[in-house]
């Protein structure tokens, strides 16, 4: 039988072997193809450095001998924990390597990074992208990756995760799209939440919980466990709402419309609740969709968008109105255990959201000029789009105008929701009823607007230079 030192050395060698190929993959040279965003290079360099530190730590273990069997055993367990931790980071490395600049919506990301850096205390934040096989959007969740990376770093004398870096996952197939990628700001917001807002928001949530669940003398450990679940649920739901509201503050109603498309939520409008129960239920990780749309509408109203949006002839606006009427019918899902569900008071959530609406409005710069310009320029932009012209520069009575990215993105949504037939009519009457044509020209429209976003950066930069 091997002695404890041999066992430790073998375990260390196995983990060493596991990490070496990952180090080679992450050794990305910025001078080589493919190209990545600066944030992605930063991520690869960090992972590479952390692997290097881990390898050095493992190599040093062969010289480490303890006379205490408890410690020899404990060090082996530590290697197991490190292996699992690296296993988690491993999941994100290949998807990040796949997301080179040819496979991400680069012009839109530039716009979103610019907007993000205008938020107070987010001036140095950077957001890169990795690819997901799920048809969903997700953040490289701060608590998950940063905590685990920092957990590894603290055990092997490595560096902590870059403080201003976040990675967002997009479906690998959607790299050239505009509309669905308007969900990205929600994922960016998770990072802002964790880095900048979490203390204030969780304190506010604690205060609300204290009112609904005051000190209970003689309560058992079981009650404490249930209370921890309620607190966890509420914090997760509130974080999701924060991210929704942040995304609306950043890019306007485009986020809500993208979310409505992603969730097929317009089903709620005509179907009885029993058939669309899922939209009314608060789950383990997310609040009820009905609650989300209700709060979207309130935030759009508070920011001044609603007056422009409310008359748009689209199901998404009807959806927002409808959810405001039925939000009282929301309930906890049966995926939440009955002992927690019975104790859970949803009023805590609504109280927290009342606070959150004011908080987000105070924290994030508003888009008053963009809101006004959307009203003023949409008529002209829609004429350009109906003629398949990229609306980088539009000619108004006052002269040439470069619509801002927020005006362009929201105009594109309005056009596709309200006026798309004007484009199809010009293509040919038969296109009006063709799913294939509608899909194809939607893709074209997205490319025109992405081109306009790219042009805006150049045009505004050249205007500033003058």
């Amino acid at each position: 039988m091997n002695d404890p030192q041999t066992l430790l050395r073998n375990d260390a060698a196995n983990l060493h072997r596991f990490l070496q190929p990952i180090a080679k993959m992450c050794a990305v040279d910025p001078r080589d193809h493919p190209y990545y965003s600066d944030a992605s290079y930063k991520f690869f360099a960090y992972i590479n450095g952390l692997i290097g530190n881990t390898l050095t730590y493992l190599e040093g273990l062969s010289q480490r001998s303890s006379k205490h069997p408890e410690i020899q055993h404990s060090l082996r367990l530590k290697l197991k924990t490190l292996r699992h931790s690296w296993g988690l980071l491993h999941q994100y490395i290949k998807p990040s390597l796949d997301a080179d600049t040819l496979h991400i919506p680069f012009p839109l990301l530039n716009v979103l990074n610019d907007k993000l850096q205008q938020v107070p205390r987010c001036e140095n934040f950077e957001c890169a992208v990795f690819h997901l096989t799920d048809l969903n959007y997700a953040m490289l969740i701060d608590n998950e990756v940063n905590c685990v990376a920092n957990g590894i770093a603290s055990k092997i004398d490595g560096e902590y995760f870059p403080p201003n870096l976040s990675l967002v996952g997009i479906p690998y197939s959607q790299s050239s799209g505009l509309f669905l990628n308007c969900l990205i700001p929600h994922e960016m917001a998770h990072f802002v939440y964790q880095e900048v807002m979490v203390n204030k928001v969780t304190q506010a949530v604690d205060n609300i919980l204290n009112i609904h669940y005051p000190y209970r003398q003689g309560a058992s450990d079981e009650f404490l466990v249930a209370l921890s679940q309620i607190k966890g649920l509420l914090n997760r739901w509130v974080e999701e709402i924060f991210c929704d509201l942040f995304a609306i503050s950043l890019i306007g109603p485009a986020f809500t419309f993208a979310f409505a498309e992603m969730t097929s939520a317009s089903l709620i409008i005509d179907e009885p609740r029993v058939k669309v129960r899922r939209f009314f239920e608060f789950g383990q990780s997310h609040p009820a969709d009905v609650a989300r749309y209700y709060l979207h509408k309130r935030h759009l109203q508070a920011l001044g968008w609603w007056d422009h949006v409310k008359d748009w002839k689209t199901n998404s606006v009807v959806l927002l109105e409808h959810c405001s009427q039925v939000r009282g019918q929301t309930t906890p899902s049966n995926t939440i255990s009955s002992n927690v569900g019975n104790l859970l008071n949803l009023q805590c959530f609504w109280d927290a959201c009342d606070w959150l609406l004011d908080f987000v409005k105070e924290q994030i710069p508003t888009l008053e000029k963009d809101i006004e310009d959307l009203g003023g320029y949409y008529g002209e932009i829609s004429k350009y789009l109906a003629r398949a012209i990229v609306p980088s520069t539009i000619i108004m009575e006052s002269g040439p105008v470069y619509p801002t990215p927020i005006v362009l993105i929201n105009s594109a949504f309005r056009f596709v929701l309200e006026d798309f037939d004007k484009l199809l009519e010009k293509i040919g009457k038969e296109s009006l009823n063709s799913v294939k044509d509608r899909s194809w020209y939607t893709e074209r429209l997205e490319l025109w607007v992405l081109k306009a976003l790219e042009d805006y950066r150049l045009l505004s930069a050249s205007q500033e230079a003058k």
């Binding site: 303890s66 205490h68 408890e70 410690i71 055993h73 404990s74 060090l75 367990l77 530590k78 197991k80 924990t81 699992h84 931790s85 988690l88 969740i141 608590n143 998950e144 905590c147 685990v148 957990g151 590894i152 603290s154 055990k155 604690d206 919980l209 204290n210 669940y213 005051p214 000190y215 209970r216 003398q217 003689g218 309560a219 058992s220 450990d221 079981e222 009650f223 404490l224 466990v225 249930a226 209370l227 921890s228 679940q229 607190k231 966890g232 383990q284 002992n339 019975n342 104790l343």
Partner: protein, 134 residues
């Protein structure tokens, strides 16, 4: 964060405490004077007369559901929690003659906690066999 990842984070947090105990035994390095993680962990082991939201906040990183139920499963009686607390406090007390032995015993107990957390991380859903009826 996916719930089962919280078990991995718990394992890493417990490991941080264990590493400081190993450094104490092997290198005679004292535990840090101001150690939020250890303080939060001790708070999660403390016997209580009542429960509030503040009780959870005081437990810091150990105040989440996954940590609480893992700790409660392993330390299924108040005496077991008390034993670990006594050992950890002894290590922090320079006048205690049993510091080294206490540290080694605490390392063993913490390894059991880290191992349980890793088990739950590796086997999502397995923790549901624990029932906490109100």
């Amino acid at each position: 964060m996916e719930p089962n990842t919280k078990y991995l984070t718990l394992a890493l947090d417990v490991r941080t405490i264990t590493d400081s105990l190993i450094e104490f035994v092997e290198d005679a390095k004292e535990l840090p004077q101001s150690n939020d993680l250890l303080r939060s962990f001790l708070s999660s082991l403390t016997e209580r007369t009542g429960v509030s939201v503040k009780t959870l906040s005081d437990m810091g990183r150990f105040g989440n559901y996954e940590s609480l139920r893992t700790i409660n499963e392993l330390f299924d009686s108040a005496d077991k929690k008390k034993e670990l607390m006594t050992r950890l406090r002894a290590v922090s007390d320079p006048s205690d003659q049993t510091r080294q032995a206490s540290a080694l015993k605490a390392i063993e107990i913490l390894d059991a906690l880290e191992g349980t957390a890793l088990y739950y991380y590796e086997h999502p859903g397995s923790e549901s066999r624990l029932a906490f009826a109100l």
